[in-house]
Symmetry: C2
Subunit: 113 residues, 2 copies
């Protein structure tokens, strides 16, 4: 089998965006990280308005990327617990910087500073 290049370009930023560069992935990571979400339904009802098929797809892609794990719950065999891996937790600084930027420049209820 021919082995294609692993990434579209040699830049780590580009490599990051291949998996995280969309409207939802980083919001899912944020909810796992700061809001403590574990369940499918929590994301679904989080108010951001993600469709269930998209949510399922993103959770799967994040798993494949090694950012998230999914385990069946001990006490309820229907339920799945999603968690961040180390790799996922390592997104904290990037998420924080996006938060800071958004706070300063985008999300201004009151007049911007």
């Amino acid at each position: 089998m021919a082995k294609g290049p692993k990434h579209r370009s040699g830049c780590p930023v580009s490599a990051s965006l291949e998996v995280l560069g969309d409207r939802w992935s980083l919001l899912i990571v944020r909810d796992l990280m700061v809001r403590g979400f574990r369940r499918f339904k929590e994301f679904q009802q989080s108010g951001e308005g993600i469709a269930t098929n998209i949510l399922a797809g993103r959770l799967r892609r994040l798993q494949q990327a090694g950012i998230v794990t999914a385990e069946v719950d001990d006490e309820d065999a229907r339920a799945v617990n999603y968690r961040l891996t180390e790799k996922g937790i390592d997104l904290a600084p990037a998420l924080l910087e996006l938060l800071i930027w958004g706070s300063r420049h985008e999300y201004c209820e009151a007049p911007c500073n």
Copy 2:
């Protein structure tokens, strides 16, 4: 006219992703910031493979968001010079953190540390 909410959710991360949450926008900012790109054609030929219609759309959206400015060149009336605003420059930390994360976890030519 009815005034809708300014943002889809009250979270600054979400607000940031409304304009930056796609495959290309942050790469354009990166190229303006670290590679010093100024011209349409430079982005087009940068090797990432962005289509010209998408590039035009992203540059327009980044302008509308106040992240980028576009000015006709002094010496060549055909040419447009794109530049980052302060707001755009303020994305440096977020970009850097994505770079760090990508370097550590995604872009590993050699075995990962």
